[in-house]
Symmetry: C2
Subunit: 224 residues, 2 copies
DNA sequence: GTCTATATAGGGATAGAC
DNA sequence: GTCTATCCCTATATAGAC
């Protein structure tokens, strides 16, 4: 750590700073509304310098998408994974919600991203499929330990519904309550909705537990 | 109907033709990727003429959004409405799915539309709220006729989940199966998913019926 | 690595003739 | 109502000095 006497600022990781502020701007204003000029200004560097680090605007989106995929794949267990209990499952969904929120700008135009960059599109379908697999793992885990009762067709349908809800709840809620900049409430209700989706398939004892958890989440938010 | 001898083409309803091809282009390529120049070319008129009919690009989106809202609000019954039976409900959801598909470009960046035009945003939240209300009407209708059994908290949660699923299923499915240009399969599976969402709350007899309906929908599609 | 200055393109929008 | 021609602006991207 070379200590230039207070002259030069961090500067080492300009790339990181660029990505961080870009992510913030994209989330706040939407990617199409953010120009490279604005990013440069916000980071406090010149447009030319920005271009040195990312030659094309697409590379910014690409890098952030890559970041997202790394983050989310790290969270999602392998396809063979099975949930042990309810708590583990909801904790998992909760942090997935948070990751989605962190990169929410991506979810504003998924098909746009996919059409611009075919490879990216392929990665994204992959993430979606893994989301379904994760939800399936939750259902199967609970079923195999006799906490949940459902036919395999029901489980399959439930897994898909869980995935849709998890991936799109925040978008849905944003439309109903625009200009919200903190996710707390929204995530809490999202988890609640997920719990209520699974509840009807739970056996009595587990169901009581899940409904208890649900009300816990519900009280986190002032009202609907 | 003045019959100019084969010289002038329909021309009367240029406005309609513009809107129709714009909708088609937006759906196919995504609104941000379609320039006014392209629209004019596709319609077979000049850019200047296009501008005569719609002074700003936003007015194109605005007009199509208005069309969508009119269409969808015509479909959605008033808040006091209650479903009579399962068939009526799924028919309703089915045509809502079709309308969403028809205007799917809007759903590619809802928050973008909302941030550009505040008034439009308000209209959209309204539609979403009405979607929830419609779903609520389905659940309450089935509950009041003893076909469905659920607490009011469960119904409330179910209504929201139904709305999310209905509004976002097609987006979800598009990510998993990009470059699909006809909606048949996708809608069929969407309806199936919706049915499976409600099934666990149905009383035995109704449940048999709903599961029968569900398999009907399922066979419409080759495989998952 | 970072800056300043500049090139280039494309899209939205306009003016005025027909 | 429709066309042609053109303007203007903004955003991306580049070149070259420090």
């Amino acid at each position: 750590m070379p200590a230039d006497p207070a002259t030069r600022r961090p500067a080492r990781n300009t790339r990181r700073r660029i990505l961080d502020t870009t992510l913030a701007l994209y989330n706040a204003l939407g990617e199409p509304n953010v120009s490279t000029t604005l990013i440069a200004a916000e980071v406090g560097i010149s447009a030319g310098n920005l271009h040195y680090h990312f030659r094309k605007k697409d590379q910014l989106i690409g890098a952030l998408l890559e970041q997202f995929i790394v983050d989310i794949e790290q969270l999602m267990p392998p396809d063979s994974w099975r949930a042990k209990d309810v708590e583990e499952s909801w904790f998992l969904l909760h942090i997935i919600f948070e990751t989605i929120w962190k990169y929410r700008f991506l979810f504003r135009d998924l098909s746009g991203i996919m059409s611009r960059d075919r490879r990216a599109g392929h990665r994204l379908s992959g993430v979606f499929n893994r989301a379904v697999a994760t939800c399936r793992g939750i259902c199967l885990g609970l079923a195999e330990t006799d906490q949940l009762e459902a036919t395999s067709a029901e489980i399959e349908a439930l897994a898909h519904n869980l995935a849709v809800l998890t991936l799109y709840w925040l978008s849905f809620d944003t439309v109903r309550h625009p200009r919200r900049d903190e996710a707390g409430e929204s995530i809490a209700q999202g988890v609640y909705q997920v719990l209520m989706l699974v509840a009807p398939f739970m056996r009595p004892v587990g169901r009581a537990n899940i409904e208890y958890l649900a009300t816990q989440y519900l009280t986190k938010q002032p009202g609907r």
